[in-house]
């Protein structure tokens, strides 16, 4: 076994009290591809940033080809032989694709005002290699999304780095583009580079990687071949949840009550990246529907499109029978369609009570008092903390003032297991005692399934499965790892 090109050990990164990365260590040999996987918030991106010193690790060692580089400034680590392919690109507006690749080839000098002759030649060769030959004289803003990713790739490999780090290599790409990119990445391996692929799930990278290192909440959970990791008990629990217990409730006669929200053939794109493709869902009045999907699948986009926060390219959204096209987000919210965003948009410096009052400010005084009483019954902890500032509370509470349809976007994101359980109980009580219609977006299946009447699976901007939670585990579960 040859000496590894990248070797990290004991890597630890804390953000305040949160341990984002805890004692992580692995090595990548020349000509090897390691997949670093973990769900959102597992710390995998932080590991990648620590390797490059984009965030400085608190402890641990990072060795590039035997040289200790932990804590070095980023540009020196880059020169030591590390290239990184960022997920998002910020290209220069007035330089062509070829000029962008040339920049990556320039020496770090203040005094050099003209590029050497070989730079242009080499840039052309790199452009040809990553498949940018057709577009190399165009400006970045005229490029397709995949070509922008190719450009990032081209820049990262321009200096022939020993170690290549790739952040979510296939995000936003079509199947053919995925095949192209896989081939390119495989060619790095063939040339003896060490490659680290960071992704959400094993499935996406299984065909490409030699080994997989799985993380969860900053810790190592498994390591081995893609198959071994997929079979690993802990990994299965992290992704699928342990045993999924379904909380049944008396069946409701959904058909008789009609459809509350109906989305037909909705497509949304951000610039060149397609975020939703031909998505159709419907939610009956009083129903509890979960949409499960990994980070980046398009859940938040779907919710934002429903709430009028992002424009759709095609498709219709009907709420309580009326087309929502052309309405402002505020009008939609007042119509009773309320979203609790995953980013916890509480007014952090106001007290809990002030936040609650704000949520109910368009109700009459009596209604408001009634709602508050109901809320405190639902979330007893809020009553005792009325005066406290709202910074640490989960998002679900402040906006729950009499909505017809409540959209919850990843309420479990970043929560400790204990809190999760409380939230789950509240969810159950909400479902049993009220007539509210809920649309829940989750990547945590354990949380999403028990309460749901129906489940949709969103994957790469498309709905790929729908059915009852009972059928989920056997039909959709394995595809979810």
């Amino acid at each position: 076994m040859p000496a590894p090109l990248l070797e990290i050990s004991g890597l630890t990164k804390r953000f305040g009290g949160l341990v984002a990365v805890n004692n992580i260590g692995f090595a990548i040999a020349p000509g090897e591809i390691l997949g670093l996987i973990g769900p959102n918030g597992s710390g995998k991106s932080t590991v990648m940033k620590c390797i490059m010193s984009i965030v400085r690790p608190n402890a641990g060692s990072v060795r590039i080809d035997g040289r200790e580089v932990a804590g070095w400034p980023t540009h020196r680590i880059a020169r030591q032989g590390v290239g990184i392919v960022f997920q998002h690109s910020h290209p220069l507006p007035r330089q062509t694709v070829l000029e962008h690749i040339e920049i990556a080839l320039l020496p770090d000098s203040l005094l050099k005002l003209f590029a050497d002759r070989h730079v242009a030649e080499r840039a052309r060769a790199i452009a040809a290699r990553v498949g940018l030959e057709r577009v190399m004289h165009r400006l970045p803003r005229t490029l397709a999304f995949a070509d922008l990713r190719r450009l990032e790739l081209a820049k990262a490999i321009a200096r022939n780095p020993k170690v290549v780090l790739v952040d979510e290599p296939f995000a936003g790409l079509t199947a053919t583009e995925v095949a192209d990119f896989s081939e390119l990445i495989a060619s790095f391996r063939a040339e003896g580079h060490a490659v680290l692929l960071v992704d959400h799930n094993v499935k996406g990278v299984a065909a490409l990687v030699d080994r997989v290192f799985a993380m969860y909440l900053g810790e190592r959970v498994a390591e081995g071949s893609a198959d071994e990791v997929m079979r690993n008990e802990t990994v299965r629990r992290v992704y699928l949840g342990g045993k999924i217990e379904l909380a049944s409730r008396p069946a409701r006669d959904a058909a008789a009550r009609g459809t509350l929200l109906r989305v037909d053939n909705l497509s949304v794109s951000y610039g060149k990246a397609q975020a939703l493709e031909d998505v159709s869902i419907s939610i009956g009045a009083g129903e509890f529907v979960s949409i499960v999907g990994l980070n980046g699948a398009g859940k938040t986009t779907l919710f934002n499109a429903i709430c009028g926060l992002v424009p759709s390219t095609s498709g219709t959204i009907r709420f309580a029978g009326a087309d929502l096209r052309g309405r402002t987000p505020a009008q939609i919210a007042r119509g009773g369609l309320v979203q609790c965003p995953e980013s916890r948009e509480l007014f952090g410096d106001m007290s809990v009570r002030e936040n609650l009052d704000l949520g109910g400010q368009h109700l009459s005084r009596e209604d408001c008092a009634r709602q508050l009483a109901w809320l405190f019954e639902l979330f007893p902890i809020l009553q005792s903390r009325q005066r406290q500032t709202a910074k640490t509370l989960s998002g679900g509470e402040q906006q729950m003032m009499q909505p017809k349809l409540l959209i919850l976007d990843e309420p479990t994101l970043g929560l400790a297991p204990v809190i999760l359980e409380q939230l789950s109980k509240a969810m159950e009580r909400l479902r049993l005692t009220t007539d509210i219609t809920v649309l829940l977006g989750e990547q945590n299946v354990t949380f999403a399934l028990p309460h749901a009447d129906r489940v949709y699976v969103l994957e790469h901007a498309r709905i790929v499965w729908d059915g009852s939670p009972e059928r989920f585990a056997e039909e959709a579960g394995t595809g979810y790892l």
Binding site: P91, D108, L110, A156
Partner: protein, 303 residues
């Protein structure tokens, strides 16, 4: 195609400026002389904002340092003009570096805030030590570049042409490309192996050099150095508006913007107090609706 046409247009316009003294009065030449000195400060500012991606809210800190260093040397020591100018430029670079080294460590709007505070500090110092600096009234300068309008005009025009040429060349060089990449995304530039801090600091020093020189030249033209003409925040704001108005990331646009601001102010002079208001209004409209400035709008129309 378009680019070469614009280059020709620019050269013709520049030639016209050189021939201007044969047509117009000394009064107009005097206005343009000030405009050219301002334009160098504005172009130097664009190197920072347009290329290094840093907003310097205190360009008049650098201009003022250069101007007052030159003014005080001439006033008290009778130092020759060329030496005063070099000392002023050197002081601006030094002051700029002392400011930039800690400030560039900060991210986001904090760099801009530090530069803003620096102007206020300089202004306060000048007023506090008014016994030496002349304070609010200003410091008279025994030497002048020339008493002839035309000669002064040519000094300023040649200074602008050379400074503009150097700054433009630098911005188009490979070092300028790296600077632009650092301004666009510092993390990405560092990941490509570029020492972002080094490039930004160099840009700041170069910007300071030209700003300091412009400040020195300006006071030797005016014959007096005062807070109101070279240090005040409103002076700095004028450079900034000029650069943005003309077109970010173009260098040349900053010069066009400076000349526009001063000429427009003069044309609207009959409006009295209202003229500043109208010019600011025009600037606001251009920035709101054509964020690319004059040259940006031109580029867009060209395709």
């Amino acid at each position: 195609m378009l680019r070469s046409r614009n280059v020709w247009l620019g050269l013709v316009a520049l030639l016209a400026l050189y021939l201007l003294p044969f047509w117009v009065s000394g009064y107009v030449l005097g206005l343009l002389t000030v405009a050219y000195y301002y334009s160098v400060a504005a172009m130097a500012w664009d190197l920072l904002f347009g290329f290094a991606g840093e907003v310097n809210f205190g360009p008049s800190f650098l201009v003022g340092l250069g101007a007052y260093t030159a003014a005080m040397l001439d006033h008290y020591e009778g130092t020759p003009i060329w030496l005063c100018l070099i000392a002023g430029a050197a002081m601006a670079v030094l002051g700029g570096a002392i400011l930039a080294v800690p400030a560039l460590r900060l991210r986001g709007p904090y760099f801009g805030l530090v530069t803003l505070v620096a102007v206020l500090l300089l202004q306060n110092l000048l007023v506090l030590f008014s016994g030496i600096t002349g304070g609010e009234i200003g410091l008279d300068i025994p030497d002048v570049l020339s008493v002839d309008d035309r000669t002064n005009y040519f000094y300023a025009l040649v200074f602008m042409t050379i400074s503009g040429g150097l700054l433009l060349g630098l911005s188009r060089s490979t070092a300028g490309l790296i600077l632009q990449a650092s301004g666009q995304d510092a993390t990405e530039a560092a990941a490509l192996g570029f020492n972002v801090a080094k490039h930004k600091l160099a840009a700041f020093c170069i910007s300071a050099l030209f700003s300091g020189l412009a400040g020195g030249m300006l006071i030797f033209y005016l014959g007096t150095a005062s807070v109101g003409t070279v240090v005040d925040i409103s002076v700095g704001v004028q450079f900034i508006i000029a650069a943005v108005l003309g077109g970010r990331r173009t260098i040349v646009g900053a010069a066009i913007g400076s000349i526009f601001l001063i000429v427009a102010g003069e044309i609207l002079r009959p409006l009295g107090e209202l003229s500043t208001f109208v010019v600011s209004g025009i600037a606001l409209i251009v920035i709101l609706f054509f964020p690319g400035g004059f040259l940006g709008a031109l580029r867009q129309r060209g395709g």
